[in-house]
């Protein structure tokens, strides 16, 4: 029954997903330490500075989309299938707007932070990287999140136990990967 699981139930439902996310975390750590990424870090001032904020907002934006959908399912406000339901589309559009706005905002404050402490920074470069990485992660996160929540719910899995790990895992691995794509795209354009 939702909300009435014992500690053991929660543990058993959450552990496999957390372990998968652990492996993925080690994987994203490896991407971060890769030579291409380290080259990017040294070439683009501010990249290391914005990294925690960029990764964290993936969790904030899409984690709360997941929690909202989960509560909606438990309350019977939305149904576990994808059709053009007003609440569902509202939640999706809102999280897209949030994700893009915050990505641009992070680029701007990182630039200001760099300037504040007398370092060099290229606003256009930072905004470009964040827009590319933010857009790609929005598309990926929203599609995967909805698929996982609906399919899991229909199979009797409490989405509350699964969303967090799925979001942080995908957010980190693909966040870092899309950041690389952003660096590459902006480097090719500018």
């Amino acid at each position: 029954m939702p909300g009435h699981d014992t500690a053991r139930d929660v543990y058993r439902q959450a552990l496999p997903v957390i372990l998968v996310s652990l492996v993925a975390g080690l994987f994203s750590g490896t991407i971060l330490g890769s030579e291409t990424m380290r080259a990017g870090i040294s070439e683009v001032p501010g990249l290391l500075l914005l990294l925690p904020a960029f990764l964290a907002t993936r969790g904030g934006v899409y984690g709360s989309l997941g929690a909202r959908l989960s509560t909606g399912l438990h309350q019977g406000l939305i149904e576990p299938r994808f059709r053009l339901d007003r609440r569902l589309t509202n939640a999706i559009v809102a999280s897209f707007i949030n994700g893009m706005t915050v990505s641009v905002f992070i680029a701007v404050i990182t630039f200001l932070w760099l300037r504040l402490f007398g370092n060099e920074g290229n606003l256009l470069e930072l905004v470009g990287i964040m827009v590319v990485a933010g857009f790609l992660s929005a598309v990926l996160m929203i599609s995967v999140l909805i698929a996982v929540i609906f399919v899991g719910y229909r199979r009797g899995l409490d989405p509350d136990n699964v969303i967090g790990p799925v979001v942080t895992t995908l957010g980190d691995v693909f966040g870092i990967l899309f950041l690389l794509v952003g660096i590459y795209v902006v480097g090719a354009v500018l």
Partner: protein
């Protein structure tokens, strides 16, 4: 803003709770503030860059440790929020649902941060690190269990506060608590590192 079942008052209230404007307005200021907070985390990371580069095992620990704390935080927040809506949440040590949440978080933390320690040591050695197995495991477990305490306290506090202020805890708690755990995770990790390593 209308919806197929907005006939009742309750229906209208829920539709409002699910409007784009409402969700964006609730979240943007929060996400913006938290991004600024994360810059502090980024600065801390930059400060310890040399220690991290010298000990690859610690470098591997950073994202994994923070990510796992975030996972535990969002499970706890998400569960507490659902329990709040279903009316079974109560801030009382004898509440069985609350006890189950807390018990599960500590059991998960013990299991996962133990595994993280072993994995980080292995990868560190593969990358040419020299930090001993015992030390990496100790750093992982001690900082991990401290983080678990923080996750529980921060989740309960965030759900209570957001409920009292009248904000939807689904929108507010996860960003607040995961961000707090990110920043605190970096600080706790380096506090433990400076004692152990």
């Amino acid at each position: 803003m209308s919806s197929p079942d907005s006939g009742s008052d309750a229906g209208r209230e829920y539709v409002d709770e699910w409007s784009i404007r409402r969700i964006v307005r609730t979240m943007i200021p929060l996400l913006a503030a938290l991004s600024v907070l994360q810059l502090v985390s980024g600065t801390v990371l930059e400060t310890y860059e040399e220690t991290l580069v010298e000990n690859p095992a610690l470098l591997v620990l950073v994202p994994v440790q923070i990510g796992t704390a975030g996972n535990l935080a969002s499970i706890t927040c998400s569960r507490l929020t659902t329990q709040l809506y279903l009316g079974t949440y109560e801030l009382d040590p004898s509440n069985p649902d609350l006890r189950a949440n807390v018990g599960a978080v500590f059991a998960l933390a013990g299991t996962v941060f133990g595994a993280v320690g072993v994995a980080a040591w292995g990868i560190g050695v593969a990358l040419g690190g020299t930090l001993g197995f015992g030390r990496v495991l100790l750093v992982s477990l001690v900082s991990g269990m401290l983080l678990a305490v923080l996750v529980v306290v921060a989740s309960v506090a965030a759900v209570e506060a957001s409920y009292r202020v009248g904000l939807n805890p689904d929108d507010t708690t996860i960003p607040v608590v995961t961000n707090l755990c990110d920043v605190a995770g970096v600080l706790i990790l380096f506090a433990v590192v400076s004692v152990v390593v």
